[in-house]
Structure formats: structure tokens, C-alpha cells
């Protein structure tokens, strides 16, 4: 019986993916690096249960498509978030329904394990409810950009790679989305600079 462990010197995602072409088990290193991050992001959009499912599917799709990973890239994060975001899009109506319910009732209806749900009966304040309503009304592309930046902590460049759109489109979508959030919150400074 022989054990194979990830090579700790392979810090570059691209190198991990390339090595996985001949030694598929090495792909699991990517799972270890990013599964929890991706899960956190998807969980905030769709709840724990769907996140569990989407993370599994994301890495399976990534594994199957690993030969298409651009060898010039060293980070797989945008690639993985791109797959996950596409999967999230399948549940767009659910996502918007959850957000509208949060706005309406102040209670977040995101599905989650019963034990967690009992512990988390926290009522959202007026600002959170307004934010949820504004998020629900955003066009999907704008919401993707906004939440990849705000919840996944992606840079603008990474967001552009994730969604395969130009950097300028990221900036314009983000600007528009932030303006709508500010309007929903009653803000009056729609021209504030993005960071």
C-alpha cells in the first residue's frame, strides 16, 4: 500500500494543475486551498446546503477541465470562482427570493442545518433589509461583480478573470451596483470613487 502526499513545494496553482495532468491525485491540493473559501462565498449567496453541493460540483468540473486552465496563470482562484458563479446562476430565482424575504421579514431564510438555524434567529436591522432588497433588484451581472468583490474579496482584475469580462466592465458594473445600494440606503453620494 503506497501513500501519496501533496508536494508542499508546489505553491503555484498552475504548477499543481499541470502536475495533476499526470498525477491526478495532486488536484486535491487545489481543493484543500480553496474549497472553504468558495463555500463561504456560495453559502452567503444561497445557503449552506446548496453551497455544499455547488462546491463539490465546482471542483469536479474544474478537475474535468483542468487541461483548459491557462498555463500562463499562476492562481486558480478566479477560475474556480468563475465555475462556482456559473453554478450559482442556476439558482438566481432562489437567491432573489431569499433576499426579498430578508427585506420583507428581517429574518434570513437561507437554508441551513437545523442546529445552526436555531442558533441564528437574528433579526436584520433596517439597513440590512434595505441592502437585501437592493441586491435582489440588481441585474445578475452587476450582483456577481459586487459580491465577488465584497464577499469573495477578489480584486477587480480577479473579478474580470472570473467573469471573463474586461476590467472596465467590472468597474462600471461595480459603480452602478454601489450607487444602487447607496440609493437604497438613502445615501446621497453616488459619485464616490471606487477604491
Amino acid at each position: 500500500m503506497t501513500a501519496v502526499e501533496a508536494d508542499p513545494t508546489e505553491v503555484d496553482d498552475g504548477a499543481v494543475i499541470r502536475s495533476s495532468l499526470d498525477e491526478p491525485e495532486r488536484f486535491a491540493a487545489l481543493f484543500d486551498r480553496y474549497a472553504r473559501q468558495v463555500h463561504q462565498y456560495v453559502s452567503r449567496r444561497l445557503g449552506t446546503q446548496l453551497a455544499d453541493d455547488i462546491v463539490g460540483e465546482t471542483f469536479l468540473i474544474a478537475f474535468r477541465r483542468r487541461e483548459t486552465f491557462d498555463p500562463a496563470r499562476t492562481l486558480a482562484r478566479p477560475w474556480l470562482y468563475g465555475i462556482a458563479t456559473t453554478l450559482v446562476a442556476r439558482h438566481r430565482r432562489n437567491e432573489e427570493r431569499f433576499l426579498r424575504a430578508l427585506k420583507r421579514t428581517g429574518a434570513d431564510p437561507l437554508p441551513e442545518p437545523v442546529a445552526e438555524a436555531v442558533a441564528r434567529q437574528v433579526t436584520a436591522g433596517a439597513q440590512e433589509r434595505a441592502l437585501a432588497g437592493a441586491l435582489a433588484r440588481l441585474p445578475r451581472g452587476d450582483r456577481d461583480v459586487l459580491l465577488l468583490v465584497a464577499w469573495a474579496d477578489l480584486s477587480y482584475e480577479e473579478t474580470a478573470q472570473t467573469l471573463d469580462i474586461p476590467l472596465g466592465t467590472v468597474r462600471s458594473r461595480l459603480h452602478r451596483a454601489r450607487r444602487r445600494l447607496r440609493e437604497a440606503l438613502g445615501g446621497a453620494d453616488p459619485t464616490q470613487e471606487d477604491n
Partner: protein, 290 residues
Amino acid sequence: MDEMTLLKELRADRPAMSVRAEDAARARLLAGAAGPPARSRRPLHLVLGLAAATAVATAATVVVNAFGPEPARDYANAAMKIERETGTWRVEIKDAYADPGEFAEAFAKMGLRVELRIVPVSPGKERTIIRMVQGPSDAARTHPDGSTSSWSVDDCPAEGTACPLAMTISGDPGGGRQVWLGREARPGEPYADGTPGLHREPVPGLRLIGRNVRDATALLRARGLKSAFLLGEFKPDGSGSSYGVDPSWRPSGERKATDAWYFSSDTVMLLVSPRPGDPGPTPDASPLGD
């Protein structure tokens, strides 16, 4: 507090991924990685025992010695027949469409860790090994002397009544291997060896590469061929990337086909450079269809 700060706090206390969910996701990766690669654009480099894809973090077993204490001298099942001679194995395929598990079983009975897949290939590639991947890294440890093996597929006589698909393995096959052996494709069946990046015109007498999509598809239609599309870019040295989209998606007619190759006997794949607004990768749906 500005809107981004508020947004960053919204749902920030979601529970982390549970250990159980992580295990399940790994198991799914495992199951999918070990499954049939028929939907893949390119052959997957899977190896016998890859099952352990779940495993890097837990250093799980990759190759399991489950082949019995004493290899047989010959073995046959419904899929194949293997005979061992001194230093060689003679392999004859009885059913090229058999489940790969039956091939693996026969190899295992002979003490060999081989995952054989018999895959549809483009004309001229039949009876050739189109891919061979050495298995998990234990091979080097098992065979520190660097011993090698050779795999040769029998030629088929030009005029013959019966010509079984057969090959001879000589030397020491070492650790697990995955071997893809080409067979004739059925009409319309996707080729396992179709790939972008070669920049060779696939259809004699037709110039497709560099032509716009409208003209290229019209020319193909006139030849009775269908078109399919892949988004991506490849450099002249063959490096690059591509991804599949919903098979029903079509680029606008003025866009250029930057590469072309036979996807199957009746379909030519056209590579188109991505543009803003194009669809992203379609999860779990091969760009090439099934």
C-alpha cells in the same frame, strides 16, 4: 458606515464548511475523477487507483494491492484475453465496447495495474495508442532501476478476414498505467483525439481557419458537415486554453474561426476567440456535446 462595509457584514457569520460537507465534496471529486471521461474535450489523465483523488490531505492510498498473491499465466473474460510468456504479455481484445472495468479485471488477474480504455478516434489513428499515462508516483519507487516497457499494437493485414485488436507488452510495466487505444469511431461519435491548437485545416480543399463563422459554417454545410463551437485562444506553439459553452450557442456570423478540427465524422469544431458578453463555461456540459 458606507454601503460596501455594510455589505461585507451582511451574512458574514455564515457557518464554515463542515467536515462532513468537505468529505462529501472530496468523495464526489473522487467518484467523478474515476468515472468515464466520455464528456471530456480531451482525454483525462486518469490512472488506475486515482480513486485517491480525495485524498491528498489525508494521504490516502492510491494504489491498492488487490491483485492476489500469484498472477495467472493467462486469463480471459468476455472483454479480453491475456497470455503471459517470458517477459511479455499478449493482449487480445474480444469486445472493444466492453466496460473498462472488465479490462481492468483481466489485467489485475495477471498482476498488472493497467486501466485500458478503448476510445473512438479519427481515421488513421485506429489501432494506435493515443495516450499513455504512467500511474501514481509509486512507480519510481517500485522500480528504482528505471526499468521500462514497450507496448506495440499489432498491425492489421491489408487483406484479411479477421483482425483482432491485439497488443504485446514487453518489459516491466511498473506501476499503474492508463492506456488509451484507438478504435474506429461510429458515425457521429466524438473522437477522443480531436484537439485544438494544431492549426491544421481538417477538411481537404476547404480553408476554414481565418474565415468568418458565417462562411465557414456555410462551406461545411455544403459538404454535409455540421459545425460546433469552442471558445478559446491558442498560440502558434500550441499553448492556450479553451472552454465549452452551451451547445446551442452560436457566435455571430462575422466572428473568425481561429482553428478547426474534426470533432466527429460529421461535425467540425470551430474555435472562436472569446468576447465580452459571451457565455461562460457551461458546467457539466461538454462544449463538444456528448
